[in-house]
Symmetry: C2
Subunit: 184 residues, 2 copies
DNA sequence: ACCTGAACACCGTTCAAGT
DNA sequence: ACCTGAACACCGTTCAAGT
């Protein structure tokens, strides 16, 4: 019984988390699996596709049951879930953000965000705008936080970490803007 | 008379704009300058530093005299200037955003954004929060727009471009949130 | 000071051949 | 179907040697 695609993605995620994105090479992954580099191309067409699959898996593992009932609570919950999922793996923010940038992986979170905003009674074009705005904030904040965390763990405490408080406050800022438009 | 550091950065920017980031290798740049790859290391310690210098140069070339007098107008102006600078060169958004992520290059725009927000009468911690929020929006939107532009020019019209309208509307959303706090 | 030439230690990907 | 072995066309970076 040989490897399947899921085994490759699973092991790639382990290598990513332990050694970081720059060490996640096809050759390195192959040797980690005790196989020739060329063997990987039977399970995955190229590295880019593998990275997209890794991004999807990171998000899948970060899914939690939703609890909030109000639209704004759901937005905060969804953004927080996305943020936590990215931060749960080393270089996770960069991997997920890059996959999103190139339109790879299905943007599940975007749709669920859109639904929540729609339920908030926002007009369709504002729903689209707000969805993108929140996604940009989540990616930006997660990337910044992950960089700060790695800099800190490397001994160089360069910049203010920011932390989860800043994240929530940033979301609230946009939510205030939206609320100001729904009941002016 | 041989090359100086500025010549290397200048030529690198030309290669970036014409062939894209993935083609901007030290070896390619060297051959473009008619020189051995090793010669570049007399002007720049490594590729990362070169990319940071390129990011700085992109921003420097995008600077315009400021015209707005009100704090919120200055925020929109500064964000627009940053966005336009990034979009003026192929893969410019990715280069500048990456340099910012790793804390390379001096974040001139961040300070000027902070000043504008301070003049708006916001409390110090909200100034910091809003500065980061706007930067995340600019990077996110510019990256998305640049990817869409390249996809469109490659023939594959994948996603809604968004455009400058969406950008301004996204900024206004956050500004509304800030205004709601300055005069509640 | 600036550059050459050669090397080191890697990459992603392809493809004929094996089982 | 899945993998090996070998190759192709590259990378970033270092360093002794030349001018």
């Amino acid at each position: 019984m040989r490897y399947h695609r899921a085994d490759i993605v699973d092991r790639a995620l382990a290598v990513l988390d332990e050694y970081g994105l720059e060490s996640l090479t096809m050759r390195r992954l192959a040797s980690e699996l005790g196989v020739q580099p060329s063997a990987l191309y039977h399970h995955v067409p190229n590295k880019q596709t593998l990275l997209a699959a890794i991004a999807d898996e990171i998000l899948r593992r970060g899914r939690r049951p939703h609890r909030a009932t109000e639209w704004d609570g759901r937005v905060v919950e969804l953004c927080g879930q996305l943020r936590d999922a990215m931060l749960a793996y080393r270089d996770g923010a960069e991997v997920v953000a890059t996959a999103h940038t190139f339109g790879l992986g299905r943007d599940d979170t975007a749709d669920r965000l859109r639904d929540a905003l729609h339920d908030g009674g926002l007009p369709p074009d504002l729903v689209d705008l707000a969805t993108r705005t929140f996604l940009h904030l989540v990616f930006g904040h997660a990337t910044e936080e992950q960089t700060a965390l790695q800099a800190a763990s490397a001994g160089a405490i360069d910049r203010d970490p920011g932390g989860p408080d800043d994240f929530d406050r940033s979301l609230e800022l946009v939510l205030d803007g939206l609320r100001a438009r729904t009941h002016p």
